[in-house]
Amino acid sequence: MAKALMTGNAAIGEAAIRAGCRCYFGYPITPQNELTEYMAANLSRKKGCSFIQAESEVAAINMVYGASLVGARAMTSSSSPGISLKQEGISYLAACELPAVIVNMSRGGPGLGSIVAAQSDYFQATRGGGHGDYRTIVLGPSSVQELADLTHKAFELSDKYKIPVIILGDGVLGQMMEPVEFKYEAPEELPIRSDALRGAKDRPSKYIKTFTSNPAELEEINWSLFRRYELIKKEETAYETFLTEDAELIVVAFGIAARIAKGAIRTVRASGLKVGLLRPITLWPFPSEAVKDLAKKIKNYLVFEMNMGQMLEDVQLALEGQGDISFYGRPGGVIPTPSEVSRVISRFYYQKGLK
Protein backbone atom coordinates (compact mmCIF):
# COMPACT_ATOMS: atom_id res chain seq x y z
CA MET A 1 0.00 0.00 0.00
CA ALA A 2 1.24 3.48 -0.85
CA LYS A 3 1.68 5.96 1.94
CA ALA A 4 -1.50 7.46 3.37
CA LEU A 5 -1.90 10.67 5.34
CA MET A 6 -3.72 9.81 8.55
CA THR A 7 -4.18 10.86 12.14
CA GLY A 8 -2.44 8.65 14.68
CA ASN A 9 -5.80 7.48 16.00
CA ALA A 10 -7.01 6.37 12.57
CA ALA A 11 -3.66 4.71 11.84
CA ILE A 12 -4.07 2.53 14.93
CA GLY A 13 -7.52 1.52 13.73
CA GLU A 14 -6.29 0.58 10.26
CA ALA A 15 -3.28 -1.27 11.67
CA ALA A 16 -5.53 -3.17 14.10
CA ILE A 17 -7.87 -4.29 11.32
CA ARG A 18 -4.84 -5.43 9.32
CA ALA A 19 -3.64 -7.33 12.39
CA GLY A 20 -6.86 -9.35 12.37
CA CYS A 21 -8.65 -7.48 15.13
CA ARG A 22 -12.16 -8.94 15.25
CA CYS A 23 -13.72 -6.90 18.05
CA TYR A 24 -13.43 -3.29 19.10
CA PHE A 25 -15.35 -1.99 22.11
CA GLY A 26 -14.97 1.65 23.07
CA TYR A 27 -16.44 4.67 24.74
CA PRO A 28 -16.05 8.31 23.68
CA ILE A 29 -13.34 10.38 25.31
CA THR A 30 -11.06 13.04 23.87
CA PRO A 31 -8.38 12.86 22.45
CA GLN A 32 -8.90 9.33 21.06
CA ASN A 33 -12.34 9.59 19.42
CA GLU A 34 -11.02 9.28 15.87
CA LEU A 35 -10.00 5.71 16.68
CA THR A 36 -13.48 4.74 17.90
CA GLU A 37 -14.99 6.46 14.87
CA TYR A 38 -12.57 4.73 12.52
CA MET A 39 -13.61 1.35 13.90
CA ALA A 40 -17.29 2.29 13.64
CA ALA A 41 -16.76 3.12 9.98
CA ASN A 42 -14.42 0.29 9.03
CA LEU A 43 -14.94 -2.62 11.41
CA SER A 44 -18.58 -2.54 12.51
CA ARG A 45 -20.03 -3.99 9.30
CA LYS A 46 -17.15 -6.29 8.49
CA LYS A 47 -18.00 -9.99 8.33
CA GLY A 48 -17.28 -11.78 11.58
CA CYS A 49 -16.40 -8.55 13.36
CA SER A 50 -18.09 -6.57 16.09
CA PHE A 51 -18.00 -2.94 17.15
CA ILE A 52 -19.85 -1.65 20.22
CA GLN A 53 -19.96 1.82 21.65
CA ALA A 54 -20.29 0.56 25.20
CA GLU A 55 -22.14 2.16 28.10
CA SER A 56 -18.87 2.75 29.96
CA GLU A 57 -15.16 2.04 29.82
CA VAL A 58 -15.76 -0.63 32.45
CA ALA A 59 -18.24 -2.40 30.18
CA ALA A 60 -15.95 -1.99 27.14
CA ILE A 61 -12.95 -3.69 28.77
CA ASN A 62 -15.17 -6.50 30.05
CA MET A 63 -16.50 -7.02 26.52
CA VAL A 64 -12.88 -7.28 25.39
CA TYR A 65 -12.38 -9.89 28.13
CA GLY A 66 -15.38 -11.84 26.80
CA ALA A 67 -14.16 -11.67 23.20
CA SER A 68 -10.64 -12.71 24.23
CA LEU A 69 -12.05 -15.68 26.18
CA VAL A 70 -13.42 -17.12 22.95
CA GLY A 71 -10.19 -16.49 21.06
CA ALA A 72 -10.81 -13.28 19.14
CA ARG A 73 -8.25 -10.53 18.72
CA ALA A 74 -9.91 -7.71 20.60
CA MET A 75 -9.08 -4.12 21.36
CA THR A 76 -10.33 -1.14 23.31
CA SER A 77 -9.05 2.39 23.55
CA SER A 78 -9.51 5.37 25.79
CA SER A 79 -7.67 8.27 27.38
CA SER A 80 -6.39 8.68 30.93
CA PRO A 81 -9.61 8.96 33.04
CA GLY A 82 -11.17 6.16 31.01
CA ILE A 83 -8.06 4.01 31.38
CA SER A 84 -8.42 4.29 35.16
CA LEU A 85 -11.88 2.73 34.79
CA LYS A 86 -10.50 -0.10 32.67
CA GLN A 87 -8.01 -1.23 35.31
CA GLU A 88 -10.43 -3.75 36.84
CA GLY A 89 -10.74 -5.56 33.51
CA ILE A 90 -7.01 -5.34 32.78
CA SER A 91 -6.27 -7.03 36.10
CA TYR A 92 -8.66 -9.89 35.19
CA LEU A 93 -7.13 -10.20 31.71
CA ALA A 94 -3.68 -10.43 33.29
CA ALA A 95 -4.87 -12.97 35.86
CA CYS A 96 -6.58 -15.15 33.22
CA GLU A 97 -3.57 -14.86 30.88
CA LEU A 98 -5.73 -13.46 28.11
CA PRO A 99 -4.46 -11.37 25.21
CA ALA A 100 -5.95 -7.92 24.57
CA VAL A 101 -4.73 -4.62 23.20
CA ILE A 102 -5.54 -1.46 25.14
CA VAL A 103 -4.72 1.96 23.72
CA ASN A 104 -4.24 4.95 26.02
CA MET A 105 -4.05 8.27 24.17
CA SER A 106 -3.16 9.91 27.41
CA ARG A 107 -4.04 13.43 28.51
CA GLY A 108 -3.28 15.71 31.43
CA GLY A 109 -4.37 14.72 34.94
CA PRO A 110 -5.08 14.10 37.76
CA GLY A 111 -8.87 14.09 37.72
CA LEU A 112 -10.65 15.09 34.57
CA GLY A 113 -7.49 17.10 33.89
CA SER A 114 -7.16 18.44 30.38
CA ILE A 115 -7.70 17.05 26.90
CA VAL A 116 -4.16 17.87 25.81
CA ALA A 117 -1.26 15.44 25.52
CA ALA A 118 0.57 14.41 28.67
CA GLN A 119 2.71 11.50 29.86
CA SER A 120 1.45 11.31 33.40
CA ASP A 121 0.08 7.76 33.07
CA TYR A 122 3.55 6.18 32.92
CA PHE A 123 3.36 4.83 36.47
CA GLN A 124 -0.14 3.47 35.94
CA ALA A 125 0.83 1.78 32.68
CA THR A 126 4.16 0.29 33.71
CA ARG A 127 3.28 -0.83 37.25
CA GLY A 128 0.32 -2.98 36.27
CA GLY A 129 -2.28 -0.32 36.89
CA GLY A 130 -4.97 -2.37 38.59
CA HIS A 131 -4.97 -4.47 41.75
CA GLY A 132 -2.70 -7.46 42.24
CA ASP A 133 0.82 -8.49 41.28
CA TYR A 134 1.04 -8.27 37.52
CA ARG A 135 2.55 -6.42 34.59
CA THR A 136 1.45 -5.58 31.11
CA ILE A 137 3.68 -5.00 28.11
CA VAL A 138 3.71 -1.25 27.47
CA LEU A 139 4.69 0.17 24.09
CA GLY A 140 5.59 3.84 23.70
CA PRO A 141 5.40 4.98 20.06
CA SER A 142 6.65 8.39 18.99
CA SER A 143 5.27 8.83 15.46
CA VAL A 144 2.20 7.90 13.46
CA GLN A 145 4.26 5.33 11.54
CA GLU A 146 5.38 3.76 14.78
CA LEU A 147 1.79 3.75 16.08
CA ALA A 148 0.84 1.62 13.09
CA ASP A 149 3.88 -0.67 13.43
CA LEU A 150 3.52 -1.11 17.17
CA THR A 151 -0.23 -1.77 16.92
CA HIS A 152 0.58 -4.81 14.79
CA LYS A 153 3.33 -5.81 17.19
CA ALA A 154 0.99 -5.35 20.16
CA PHE A 155 -1.40 -8.02 18.84
CA GLU A 156 1.51 -10.38 18.11
CA LEU A 157 3.11 -9.95 21.55
CA SER A 158 -0.24 -10.19 23.27
CA ASP A 159 -1.00 -13.56 21.66
CA LYS A 160 2.55 -14.84 22.05
CA TYR A 161 2.78 -14.18 25.79
CA LYS A 162 -0.97 -14.26 26.64
CA ILE A 163 -0.74 -10.87 28.24
CA PRO A 164 -2.59 -7.57 27.83
CA VAL A 165 -0.53 -5.02 25.89
CA ILE A 166 -0.89 -1.29 26.48
CA ILE A 167 -0.08 1.19 23.73
CA LEU A 168 0.77 4.37 25.62
CA GLY A 169 0.41 7.27 23.23
CA ASP A 170 -0.81 10.77 23.93
CA GLY A 171 -3.09 13.44 22.55
CA VAL A 172 -0.51 14.80 20.13
CA LEU A 173 0.24 11.42 18.56
CA GLY A 174 -3.44 10.61 18.33
CA GLN A 175 -4.46 13.85 16.71
CA MET A 176 -1.60 14.72 14.40
CA MET A 177 -1.52 13.64 10.76
CA GLU A 178 1.56 12.12 9.20
CA PRO A 179 2.31 9.90 6.23
CA VAL A 180 2.05 6.27 7.22
CA GLU A 181 2.70 3.03 5.43
CA PHE A 182 0.97 -0.20 6.48
CA LYS A 183 3.32 -3.13 6.20
CA TYR A 184 0.71 -5.86 6.58
CA GLU A 185 -2.40 -6.81 4.63
CA ALA A 186 -5.48 -7.87 6.55
CA PRO A 187 -5.63 -11.68 6.89
CA GLU A 188 -8.07 -13.59 4.69
CA GLU A 189 -9.43 -15.31 7.76
CA LEU A 190 -9.57 -13.68 11.16
CA PRO A 191 -7.42 -15.58 13.65
CA ILE A 192 -8.99 -17.60 16.49
CA ARG A 193 -6.71 -18.59 19.37
CA SER A 194 -6.41 -22.37 19.60
CA ASP A 195 -6.76 -22.59 23.40
CA ALA A 196 -9.95 -20.49 23.47
CA LEU A 197 -13.15 -21.28 25.32
CA ARG A 198 -15.48 -22.34 22.51
CA GLY A 199 -17.72 -24.97 23.99
CA ALA A 200 -17.06 -28.52 25.17
CA LYS A 201 -17.17 -30.02 21.68
CA ASP A 202 -14.97 -33.09 21.21
CA ARG A 203 -13.18 -32.29 24.45
CA PRO A 204 -14.00 -32.05 28.16
CA SER A 205 -15.47 -28.79 29.41
CA LYS A 206 -13.04 -26.26 30.80
CA TYR A 207 -13.19 -23.04 32.75
CA ILE A 208 -11.25 -19.85 33.12
CA LYS A 209 -11.19 -18.30 36.55
CA THR A 210 -9.08 -16.18 38.82
CA PHE A 211 -10.54 -16.90 42.25
CA THR A 212 -9.10 -19.54 44.51
CA SER A 213 -9.57 -20.14 48.22
CA ASN A 214 -6.08 -21.65 48.34
CA PRO A 215 -3.29 -19.06 48.77
CA ALA A 216 -0.66 -21.64 47.78
CA GLU A 217 -2.38 -22.13 44.42
CA LEU A 218 -2.54 -18.39 43.87
CA GLU A 219 1.11 -18.04 44.84
CA GLU A 220 2.01 -20.57 42.14
CA ILE A 221 -0.08 -18.61 39.61
CA ASN A 222 1.79 -15.43 40.54
CA TRP A 223 5.14 -17.19 40.24
CA SER A 224 4.16 -18.54 36.86
CA LEU A 225 3.13 -15.07 35.66
CA PHE A 226 6.42 -13.61 36.81
CA ARG A 227 8.46 -16.35 35.16
CA ARG A 228 6.83 -15.27 31.92
CA TYR A 229 7.52 -11.61 32.72
CA GLU A 230 11.24 -12.48 33.10
CA LEU A 231 11.14 -14.09 29.67
CA ILE A 232 9.49 -10.98 28.20
CA LYS A 233 12.19 -8.79 29.75
CA LYS A 234 14.87 -10.97 28.15
CA GLU A 235 13.26 -11.30 24.72
CA GLU A 236 11.22 -8.21 24.01
CA THR A 237 12.90 -5.14 25.46
CA ALA A 238 13.19 -2.52 22.73
CA TYR A 239 14.73 0.95 22.52
CA GLU A 240 16.26 3.39 20.10
CA THR A 241 19.53 5.27 20.47
CA PHE A 242 20.28 8.47 18.61
CA LEU A 243 23.75 10.08 18.39
CA THR A 244 24.99 8.31 21.51
CA GLU A 245 28.41 7.26 20.11
CA ASP A 246 30.41 10.31 21.17
CA ALA A 247 27.85 11.74 23.61
CA GLU A 248 28.81 13.36 26.93
CA LEU A 249 25.16 13.79 27.94
CA ILE A 250 22.29 11.39 27.27
CA VAL A 251 18.72 12.60 27.16
CA VAL A 252 16.29 9.83 28.15
CA ALA A 253 12.78 10.43 26.84
CA PHE A 254 9.88 8.36 25.47
CA GLY A 255 6.96 8.90 23.12
CA ILE A 256 6.25 12.38 21.87
CA ALA A 257 8.73 13.86 24.39
CA ALA A 258 11.49 11.87 22.66
CA ARG A 259 10.37 13.36 19.34
CA ILE A 260 10.69 16.85 20.82
CA ALA A 261 14.03 15.94 22.39
CA LYS A 262 15.39 14.77 19.02
CA GLY A 263 14.71 18.18 17.54
CA ALA A 264 16.37 19.82 20.51
CA ILE A 265 19.40 17.52 20.24
CA ARG A 266 19.85 18.40 16.55
CA THR A 267 19.86 22.08 17.54
CA VAL A 268 22.47 21.71 20.30
CA ARG A 269 24.58 19.39 18.14
CA ALA A 270 24.81 22.25 15.62
CA SER A 271 26.47 24.26 18.41
CA GLY A 272 28.93 21.42 19.06
CA LEU A 273 27.34 19.93 22.18
CA LYS A 274 27.83 16.17 22.36
CA VAL A 275 24.34 15.08 23.29
CA GLY A 276 22.54 11.82 22.44
CA LEU A 277 19.16 10.25 23.07
CA LEU A 278 17.99 6.98 24.57
CA ARG A 279 14.34 6.33 23.73
CA PRO A 280 12.69 3.31 25.38
CA ILE A 281 10.19 1.76 22.96
CA THR A 282 9.04 -0.83 25.46
CA LEU A 283 8.25 1.15 28.61
CA TRP A 284 7.67 -2.16 30.33
CA PRO A 285 9.96 -3.99 30.13
CA PHE A 286 12.14 -0.90 30.60
CA PRO A 287 15.53 -1.11 28.80
CA SER A 288 17.57 -1.09 32.00
CA GLU A 289 20.44 -2.99 30.43
CA ALA A 290 20.75 -0.35 27.69
CA VAL A 291 21.00 2.35 30.35
CA LYS A 292 23.62 0.33 32.24
CA ASP A 293 25.63 -0.17 29.04
CA LEU A 294 25.65 3.55 28.31
CA ALA A 295 26.67 4.25 31.91
CA LYS A 296 29.93 2.36 31.33
CA LYS A 297 31.23 5.38 29.42
CA ILE A 298 28.73 8.20 29.89
CA LYS A 299 28.16 9.86 33.24
CA ASN A 300 25.51 12.50 32.63
CA TYR A 301 21.80 11.95 32.05
CA LEU A 302 18.89 14.27 31.54
CA VAL A 303 15.48 12.66 31.84
CA PHE A 304 12.83 14.66 30.02
CA GLU A 305 9.13 13.82 30.38
CA MET A 306 5.78 15.53 30.07
CA ASN A 307 5.04 14.79 33.73
CA MET A 308 6.69 15.37 37.11
CA GLY A 309 9.23 12.55 36.76
CA GLN A 310 7.87 9.02 36.44
CA MET A 311 10.16 7.21 34.01
CA LEU A 312 12.88 9.07 35.95
CA GLU A 313 12.54 6.40 38.65
CA ASP A 314 13.23 3.60 36.15
CA VAL A 315 16.36 5.42 35.00
CA GLN A 316 17.46 5.84 38.62
CA LEU A 317 16.82 2.15 39.29
CA ALA A 318 18.76 1.16 36.19
CA LEU A 319 21.75 3.35 37.09
CA GLU A 320 21.82 2.02 40.68
CA GLY A 321 23.34 5.18 42.06
CA GLN A 322 25.84 5.54 39.22
CA GLY A 323 25.84 8.58 36.97
CA ASP A 324 24.53 12.06 37.41
CA ILE A 325 20.83 12.42 36.67
CA SER A 326 18.94 15.64 36.06
CA PHE A 327 15.28 15.98 35.27
CA TYR A 328 13.16 18.35 33.23
CA GLY A 329 9.41 17.90 33.09
CA ARG A 330 6.29 19.80 32.06
CA PRO A 331 3.13 18.33 33.59
CA GLY A 332 -0.55 19.06 33.06
CA GLY A 333 -0.67 18.90 29.28
CA VAL A 334 1.81 21.66 28.51
CA ILE A 335 3.74 20.69 25.39
CA PRO A 336 7.31 22.01 25.44
CA THR A 337 8.90 23.15 22.18
CA PRO A 338 12.20 21.80 20.83
CA SER A 339 13.81 25.21 21.34
CA GLU A 340 12.75 25.24 25.00
CA VAL A 341 14.19 21.76 25.48
CA SER A 342 17.39 22.69 23.61
CA ARG A 343 17.89 25.59 26.05
CA VAL A 344 17.38 23.20 28.97
CA ILE A 345 19.86 20.73 27.50
CA SER A 346 22.46 23.46 26.95
CA ARG A 347 22.00 24.74 30.50
CA PHE A 348 22.54 21.30 32.05
CA TYR A 349 25.43 20.64 29.66
CA TYR A 350 27.34 23.71 30.75
CA GLN A 351 26.36 23.39 34.42
CA LYS A 352 27.96 19.94 34.45
CA GLY A 353 31.10 21.47 32.99
CA LEU A 354 30.88 19.42 29.78
CA LYS A 355 32.62 20.58 26.67
Binding site: Y65, Y207, F211
Partner: protein
Protein backbone atom coordinates in the same frame (compact mmCIF):
# COMPACT_ATOMS: atom_id res chain seq x y z
CA UNK B 1 -37.10 -50.75 36.10
CA UNK B 2 -37.45 -47.37 34.44
CA UNK B 3 -35.09 -44.66 35.60
CA UNK B 4 -37.17 -41.50 35.86
CA UNK B 5 -34.78 -39.21 37.72
CA UNK B 6 -31.01 -38.93 37.55
CA UNK B 7 -28.11 -36.55 37.52
CA UNK B 8 -28.14 -34.39 34.38
CA UNK B 9 -25.24 -35.11 32.02
CA UNK B 10 -24.04 -31.52 32.17
CA UNK B 11 -23.93 -31.48 35.98
CA UNK B 12 -20.54 -32.67 37.25
CA UNK B 13 -20.30 -35.34 39.91
CA UNK B 14 -19.24 -32.90 42.61
CA UNK B 15 -20.58 -32.18 46.07
CA UNK B 16 -22.18 -28.73 46.25
CA UNK B 17 -20.56 -26.35 48.72
CA UNK B 18 -23.86 -24.54 49.23
CA UNK B 19 -25.53 -24.29 52.64
CA UNK B 20 -28.45 -26.60 53.48
CA UNK B 21 -31.67 -25.20 52.04
CA UNK B 22 -29.91 -22.89 49.57
CA UNK B 23 -31.60 -22.38 46.21
CA UNK B 24 -28.41 -22.34 44.11
CA UNK B 25 -28.10 -26.12 43.90
CA UNK B 26 -31.69 -26.47 42.69
CA UNK B 27 -31.19 -23.78 40.05
CA UNK B 28 -27.86 -25.28 38.90
CA UNK B 29 -29.63 -28.57 38.40
CA UNK B 30 -32.52 -26.98 36.48
CA UNK B 31 -30.16 -25.19 34.10
CA UNK B 32 -28.22 -28.42 33.52
CA UNK B 33 -31.46 -30.32 32.81
CA UNK B 34 -32.40 -27.67 30.26
CA UNK B 35 -28.92 -27.79 28.67
CA UNK B 36 -29.25 -31.58 28.36
CA UNK B 37 -32.78 -31.49 26.98
CA UNK B 38 -31.84 -28.86 24.41
CA UNK B 39 -28.63 -30.72 23.59
CA UNK B 40 -26.45 -27.62 23.84
CA UNK B 41 -23.76 -28.85 26.25
CA UNK B 42 -21.12 -28.54 23.53
CA UNK B 43 -21.85 -24.92 22.71
CA UNK B 44 -22.97 -23.50 26.05
CA UNK B 45 -20.68 -20.96 27.73
CA UNK B 46 -21.61 -19.91 31.27
CA UNK B 47 -20.53 -16.73 33.01
CA UNK B 48 -20.69 -17.15 36.81
CA UNK B 49 -20.24 -14.22 39.21
CA UNK B 50 -18.16 -13.53 42.29
CA UNK B 51 -20.31 -14.51 45.27
CA UNK B 52 -21.73 -17.79 46.50
CA UNK B 53 -21.93 -19.14 42.95
CA UNK B 54 -18.30 -18.30 42.13
CA UNK B 55 -17.52 -22.03 42.06
CA UNK B 56 -20.30 -22.76 39.57
CA UNK B 57 -17.62 -24.00 37.18
CA UNK B 58 -16.98 -26.91 39.56
CA UNK B 59 -20.57 -28.04 38.98
CA UNK B 60 -21.56 -27.15 35.42
CA UNK B 61 -20.01 -29.47 32.88
CA UNK B 62 -19.92 -26.79 30.19
CA UNK B 63 -17.30 -24.18 29.34
CA UNK B 64 -17.37 -21.37 31.88
CA UNK B 65 -15.52 -18.13 32.55
CA UNK B 66 -15.57 -16.13 35.74
CA UNK B 67 -16.74 -12.54 35.44
CA UNK B 68 -15.74 -9.55 37.55
CA UNK B 69 -18.46 -8.46 39.96
CA UNK B 70 -21.43 -7.12 38.03
CA UNK B 71 -19.86 -7.40 34.58
CA UNK B 72 -21.57 -10.62 33.51
CA UNK B 73 -23.73 -9.01 30.83
CA UNK B 74 -20.70 -7.21 29.33
CA UNK B 75 -18.56 -10.36 29.36
CA UNK B 76 -21.41 -12.38 27.82
CA UNK B 77 -21.80 -9.65 25.20
CA UNK B 78 -18.14 -9.97 24.23
CA UNK B 79 -18.41 -13.77 24.06
CA UNK B 80 -21.58 -13.77 21.96
CA UNK B 81 -20.41 -11.03 19.58
CA UNK B 82 -17.07 -12.72 18.96
CA UNK B 83 -18.57 -16.24 18.78
CA UNK B 84 -22.25 -16.03 17.77
CA UNK B 85 -22.60 -19.82 17.51
CA UNK B 86 -22.23 -20.17 21.28
CA UNK B 87 -25.15 -20.26 23.70
CA UNK B 88 -24.20 -17.82 26.43
CA UNK B 89 -25.75 -17.46 29.84
CA UNK B 90 -24.88 -15.34 32.82
CA UNK B 91 -25.58 -16.51 36.35
CA UNK B 92 -25.79 -13.53 38.66
CA UNK B 93 -26.94 -12.61 42.14
CA UNK B 94 -28.90 -9.56 43.23
CA UNK B 95 -25.88 -7.53 44.33
CA UNK B 96 -24.12 -8.45 41.12
CA UNK B 97 -26.92 -7.81 38.62
CA UNK B 98 -29.01 -5.20 40.42
CA UNK B 99 -26.37 -3.05 42.16
CA UNK B 100 -22.84 -3.01 40.74
CA UNK B 101 -23.90 -4.43 37.37
CA UNK B 102 -27.04 -2.37 36.78
CA UNK B 103 -25.56 -0.47 33.84
CA UNK B 104 -24.16 -3.57 32.14
CA UNK B 105 -27.49 -5.38 32.51
CA UNK B 106 -29.75 -2.58 31.26
CA UNK B 107 -27.51 -1.76 28.31
CA UNK B 108 -26.99 -5.35 27.23
CA UNK B 109 -30.78 -5.68 27.23
CA UNK B 110 -31.16 -2.43 25.33
CA UNK B 111 -28.71 -3.54 22.62
CA UNK B 112 -30.89 -6.64 22.28
CA UNK B 113 -27.87 -8.79 23.00
CA UNK B 114 -28.87 -12.33 22.19
CA UNK B 115 -27.96 -13.77 25.60
CA UNK B 116 -29.69 -15.34 28.60
CA UNK B 117 -29.40 -13.98 32.13
CA UNK B 118 -30.31 -16.10 35.15
CA UNK B 119 -30.76 -13.77 38.08
CA UNK B 120 -30.79 -15.17 41.61
CA UNK B 121 -32.61 -12.89 44.06
CA UNK B 122 -32.18 -13.87 47.69
CA UNK B 123 -32.47 -10.34 49.09
CA UNK B 124 -28.98 -10.35 50.65
CA UNK B 125 -25.30 -10.44 49.78
CA UNK B 126 -24.77 -14.10 50.66
CA UNK B 127 -21.05 -14.81 50.28
CA UNK B 128 -19.91 -11.71 52.14
CA UNK B 129 -22.04 -12.55 55.14
CA UNK B 130 -25.56 -11.21 54.68
CA UNK B 131 -25.31 -7.50 53.95
CA UNK B 132 -28.15 -5.43 52.48
CA UNK B 133 -28.80 -6.09 48.79
CA UNK B 134 -30.66 -3.76 46.44
CA UNK B 135 -33.52 -6.27 46.75
CA UNK B 136 -33.56 -6.38 50.58
CA UNK B 137 -37.11 -5.80 51.80
CA UNK B 138 -38.18 -2.81 53.86
CA UNK B 139 -37.74 -3.61 57.53
CA UNK B 140 -35.51 -6.61 56.75
CA UNK B 141 -32.56 -6.91 59.10
CA UNK B 142 -29.17 -7.58 57.53
CA UNK B 143 -25.65 -7.03 58.84
CA UNK B 144 -25.62 -3.55 57.28
CA UNK B 145 -29.25 -2.76 58.12
CA UNK B 146 -29.15 -3.96 61.74
CA UNK B 147 -32.23 -1.83 62.54
CA UNK B 148 -34.11 -3.04 59.48
CA UNK B 149 -34.03 -1.48 56.00
CA UNK B 150 -35.57 1.97 56.22
CA UNK B 151 -36.92 3.69 53.11
CA UNK B 152 -35.65 7.15 54.06
CA UNK B 153 -32.09 5.96 54.72
CA UNK B 154 -31.60 2.89 52.54
CA UNK B 155 -34.26 3.31 49.86
CA UNK B 156 -36.59 0.69 48.50
CA UNK B 157 -36.21 -2.86 47.23
CA UNK B 158 -35.17 -2.44 43.60
CA UNK B 159 -37.29 -4.25 41.05
CA UNK B 160 -34.60 -4.58 38.45
CA UNK B 161 -36.55 -7.10 36.36
CA UNK B 162 -39.36 -4.57 35.96
CA UNK B 163 -36.75 -2.05 34.80
CA UNK B 164 -35.30 -4.52 32.32
CA UNK B 165 -38.83 -5.28 31.08
CA UNK B 166 -39.19 -1.60 30.13
CA UNK B 167 -36.21 -1.85 27.81
CA UNK B 168 -37.21 -2.59 24.24
CA UNK B 169 -34.39 -5.01 23.51
CA UNK B 170 -35.49 -7.32 26.34
CA UNK B 171 -37.87 -9.85 24.81
CA UNK B 172 -38.66 -12.06 27.77
CA UNK B 173 -38.61 -11.35 31.51
CA UNK B 174 -40.14 -13.69 34.06
CA UNK B 175 -39.93 -13.88 37.85
CA UNK B 176 -40.01 -17.35 39.36
CA UNK B 177 -39.15 -19.00 42.67
CA UNK B 178 -37.66 -22.32 43.79
CA UNK B 179 -39.56 -22.76 47.05
CA UNK B 180 -41.96 -25.55 46.11
CA UNK B 181 -42.11 -28.39 43.59
CA UNK B 182 -44.70 -26.48 41.55
CA UNK B 183 -42.57 -23.31 41.48
CA UNK B 184 -39.46 -25.31 40.65
CA UNK B 185 -41.23 -26.77 37.62
CA UNK B 186 -42.32 -23.29 36.51
CA UNK B 187 -38.76 -22.04 36.94
CA UNK B 188 -37.40 -24.76 34.72
CA UNK B 189 -39.94 -23.89 32.05
CA UNK B 190 -38.88 -20.23 32.20
CA UNK B 191 -35.17 -21.13 31.96
CA UNK B 192 -35.91 -23.32 28.97
CA UNK B 193 -37.77 -20.52 27.23
CA UNK B 194 -34.95 -18.06 27.97
CA UNK B 195 -32.47 -20.40 26.28
CA UNK B 196 -34.82 -21.12 23.38
CA UNK B 197 -35.17 -17.36 22.73
CA UNK B 198 -31.40 -17.17 22.32
CA UNK B 199 -31.31 -20.15 19.96
CA UNK B 200 -34.07 -18.46 17.95
CA UNK B 201 -32.06 -15.21 17.91
CA UNK B 202 -34.82 -13.17 19.51
CA UNK B 203 -32.80 -11.04 21.95
CA UNK B 204 -32.23 -10.56 25.65
CA UNK B 205 -33.99 -12.84 28.15
CA UNK B 206 -33.94 -12.52 31.92
CA UNK B 207 -35.25 -15.04 34.43
CA UNK B 208 -35.34 -13.76 38.00
CA UNK B 209 -35.53 -16.50 40.60
CA UNK B 210 -36.49 -15.87 44.22
CA UNK B 211 -34.14 -18.19 46.05
CA UNK B 212 -33.97 -19.09 49.73
CA UNK B 213 -30.92 -18.18 51.84
CA UNK B 214 -31.71 -19.78 55.21
CA UNK B 215 -28.23 -19.07 56.59
CA UNK B 216 -28.34 -15.31 56.15
CA UNK B 217 -32.09 -15.06 56.73
CA UNK B 218 -31.49 -16.94 59.99
CA UNK B 219 -34.32 -19.36 59.28
CA UNK B 220 -34.72 -23.07 58.83
CA UNK B 221 -34.97 -24.17 55.18
CA UNK B 222 -38.71 -24.70 55.62
CA UNK B 223 -39.20 -21.26 57.19
CA UNK B 224 -37.25 -19.79 54.26
CA UNK B 225 -39.58 -21.47 51.74
CA UNK B 226 -42.57 -20.06 53.60
CA UNK B 227 -41.00 -16.60 53.81
CA UNK B 228 -40.73 -16.48 50.02
CA UNK B 229 -44.45 -17.24 49.75
CA UNK B 230 -45.67 -15.05 52.59
CA UNK B 231 -43.33 -12.06 52.43
CA UNK B 232 -40.83 -11.89 49.56
CA UNK B 233 -43.19 -12.68 46.69
CA UNK B 234 -45.59 -9.99 47.96
CA UNK B 235 -42.85 -7.45 47.12
CA UNK B 236 -41.62 -9.38 44.08
CA UNK B 237 -44.74 -10.93 42.52
CA UNK B 238 -44.14 -14.06 40.44
CA UNK B 239 -45.11 -14.24 36.81
CA UNK B 240 -44.21 -13.13 33.30
CA UNK B 241 -43.25 -9.44 33.35
CA UNK B 242 -42.73 -9.26 29.63
CA UNK B 243 -42.91 -11.53 26.62
CA UNK B 244 -42.63 -10.09 23.13
CA UNK B 245 -41.21 -13.23 21.60
CA UNK B 246 -44.46 -14.07 19.83
CA UNK B 247 -43.57 -17.67 20.40
CA UNK B 248 -46.50 -19.77 21.52
CA UNK B 249 -45.93 -21.44 24.86
CA UNK B 250 -44.79 -25.03 24.47
CA UNK B 251 -47.45 -26.14 26.96
Amino acid sequence: MNKIYSRPKSLKKAVFHYCPGCGHSIIHRLICEVIDEMDIQDKAIGVPPPGCAVFAYYYFDVDMAESAHGRGAAVATGIKRAFPESIVFTYQGDGDLAAIGTAETIHAANRRENITSIFINNAVYGMTGGQMAPTTLLGQKTTTTPYGRSDNLEGYPLKISDLVALVKGAVYVERCAVNSPANIRKTKKAIRKAFQNQIDGLGFSLVEILSPCPTNWKMTPLEAWHWIDNVMSKEFPLGVLKDTTGVKDAD
